[in-house]
């Protein structure tokens, strides 16, 4: 350990050995610990001698801490290979509990990754705006997912007066690349969003338009968290610093947390454009328009997707789509539900749905055992749903597929569509195949595949694979070539008289499971 003295190092090593000894079976623990402590004594002494001799011949000794790390491997090996502390039957390889735990673990890992990756988190966590259902982004029909500005400033101006029956507030913003002088002799190109003052009121972001700390008021600049970290090294005293943006001095008002901006368009910083600045923009310049809808404005309700028809002076009409911010967040889940439906339809084309022939033996198998089989299949399918959903979100929106380089929203949606569909299809296929390869009594994976029969003798006989349940509950026969008398896999129960042949201690009585 860096900066650790010999005394502390020895104490830490002893602590590590004690911790590792917890893994060793109780009967062997004292002897195991005594051996490792004796060995550690040798290591520490060798270290001292090595240091005293000041060896400069390039030789090296293992550090005591690296040496003690090996104790964990040794202890774990002892634990794994001790029959007295073997894994409990439910957690053995191939057991149903292990299967469900693995699926749950993968689903949890996919969820954690989605929450860790900022872009993926935005796709699943609702927007932080209090009235996200009432706030809509207006875009030309069919371009609601476009990351490019599509609304002309002239349209925004006319809507301010013409759409009062539909919207209570309208806000306009326009991202553009500007050269920002961060420090003397240091400049960077940042995407600065110039927005009307309404935008920040609608998003409930505190006003920062003007900073009047000095005698001379100065326009405020709000930095994004990523820009603050990248260009200002995460300086905690950033508020109040003056920087030059495209030739104008502005004062940094603060830093906006990463998740607070969910609108389209890249934004490294924001500035409020006052009326003269808005007037100076060309009427044909394009930006984004955010609107707060009037509850009575659209008959469809206050959330979701609405259409607005605008009649031009030349008599032509143009349709605009108004998609609420809440609806935008629901979009990945809507895509997922669609792919789920398609995957269910496509599943029979990839694998047979029947689980095989199981002879009815009501006198031997309790209802609990039969129901348990179906519950296990249902649990697998249930765990597959969140696993594939979060994994597809990670892949499509977390930009994992593109090496963490942002891809456009349309590409993300197509990627989610493909990954979710194929993920669900193959996961369901696996669930059915896995179910067919398990013992119907103890639900453990069948083992010891053996070739049975000859391919040339198929008349009233069969050839294929025979698998056996390690618990001695029965045999599974899978025909290689389906015939009219042996068309699908068939389960053969073994009665309890066979159990003496099975050394596996996990022979569960059929009525108990």
């Amino acid at each position: 350990m860096i900066g650790c003295g010999p005394m502390q190092s020895a104490a830490l090593c002893r602590l590590m050995l004690r911790s590792a000894s917890a893994l060793v079976p109780g009967k062997d623990r004292a002897e195991w610990l005594a051996e490792w402590q004796a060995e550690l004594w040798q290591v520490l002494r060798s270290q001292r001698e090595f240091r005293n001799e000041a060896a400069d011949d390039g030789a090296s000794l293992p550090s005591p801490i690296a040496f003690c790390l090996g104790a964990f491997q040794d202890a774990w090996w002892l634990r794994q290979n001790n029959p007295r502390v073997a894994a409990p039957p439910l957690l053995r390889h191939g057991s149903p509990a292990m299967c469900l735990l693995s699926l749950a673990g993968w689903a949890a890992a996919a969820l954690m990754l989605a929450l860790y990756l900022p872009a993926a988190r935005e796709a699943i966590v609702p927007p932080p705006y209090p009235a996200a259902g009432n706030l809509v982004l207006i875009s030309p029909g069919g371009a609601s997912t476009s990351p490019m500005p599509e609304i002309r400033l002239a349209d925004y101006r006319s809507w301010q007066t013409n759409t009062r029956a539909l919207f209570t507030h309208l806000a306009y913003y326009q991202p553009s690349m500007k050269r920002v002088h961060i420090a003397p002799h240091r400049a960077a190109e940042l995407s600065i969003v110039r927005a009307s003052a309404d935008l920040f009121d609608m998003l409930k972001i505190p006003s920062f338009a003007l900073r009047t700390q000095d005698a001379q008021p100065m326009q405020g600049l709000l930095l994004s968290e990523s820009a603050w970290r990248e260009y200002f090294d995460g300086d905690p005293a950033i508020a109040g610093r003056v920087v030059e943006v495209a030739g104008h001095l502005v004062r940094i008002a603060g830093v906006l947390p990463q998740d607070r901006w969910r609108l389209p368009g890249r934004a490294d910083a924001w500035m409020v454009a006052d009326e003269p600045q808005m007037d100076s923009l060309s009427p044909s310049s394009k930006g984004f328009v955010l609107a707060a809808i009037r509850p009575s404005g659209f008959p469809g309700g206050a959330s979701g997707r609405h259409w607005m028809t605008v009649y031009r002076a030349n008599g032509e009409s143009e349709k605009f789509e108004c998609v609420s911010l809440a609806e935008q967040t629901r979009q990945p889940f809507s895509i997922y539900l669609f792919t789920l439906f398609i995957a269910f339809l496509a599943l029979p084309a990839t694998t047979p749905l029947p689980l095989g022939e199981y002879p009815a033996r009501a006198e031997r198998l309790g209802w609990g055992v039969r129901i348990r089989r179906w519950l296990f299949l249902a649990a697998k399918l249930t765990l597959i749903l969140p696993l594939v959903y979060f994994a597809s979100i990670d892949l499509a929106y977390g930009n994992i597929a593109s090496g963490l380089h942002p891809i456009g929203p349309v590409s993300s949606q197509y990627l989610q569509l493909a990954s979710s569909f194929f993920g669900l299809l193959f996961a369901f296929r696996w669930a059915l195949r896995d179910q067919r390869g398990r013992c119907p009594v103890c639900l453990r994976l069948l083992t010891n595949p053996a070739r049975v029969g000859e391919a040339s003798r198929n008349f009233l006989a069969w050839n294929g694979t025979e698998l056996i349940c390690a618990g001695g509950h029965g045999l599974l026969h899978i025909p290689e070539i389906p015939t009219s008398w042996f068309s699908t896999q068939r389960w053969l129960y073994l009665d309890p008289s066979w159990s003496s042949l099975f050394s596996d201690t996990y022979i569960a009585p059929a009525g108990v499971l």
């Binding site: 005594a34 004796a38 060995e39 040798q42 040496f67 003690c68 090996g70 491997q73 040794d74 090996w77």
Partner: protein, 105 residues
């Protein structure tokens, strides 16, 4: 019946190191250059398979040298037979870690 040499080269090195004389875990590490996480589990496996035996040294010897008692390892007859078979599989094994007799010669 001939002994089948199924041990890996790493395990063969450890077996050869144990063959060199009275050894304990750290001395095997020193002779082979292998990390502790490899040496100790390998020795446990060999002991389980009857290739080596372990024995604690007398407390009086350890007291005389003012150190904790060591657990020494030595080859069993099966271990020696295995090592002989391993020499055919890994001819350079003896040269990598010479035994005590060779060193003293």
């Amino acid at each position: 019946m001939a002994v089948e040499a199924k041990l890996s080269h790493t395990a063969a090195m450890i077996l050869q190191a144990i063959h060199t004389g009275q050894v304990y875990g750290f001395s095997v590490m020193e002779r082979t250059g292998l990390p502790s996480g490899t040496v100790y589990p390998a020795m446990r496996r060999m002991e389980r398979d009857g290739l080596i035996l372990s024995k604690w040294e007398n407390q009086s010897i350890a007291d005389a040298e003012q150190r904790p008692p060591r657990k020494y390892y030595r080859l069993t007859r099966a271990g020696k037979a295995m090592l002989e078979a391993l020499y055919k599989r890994y001819p350079l094994l003896e040269k990598l870690i010479p035994s005590a007799e060779v060193e003293n010669a």
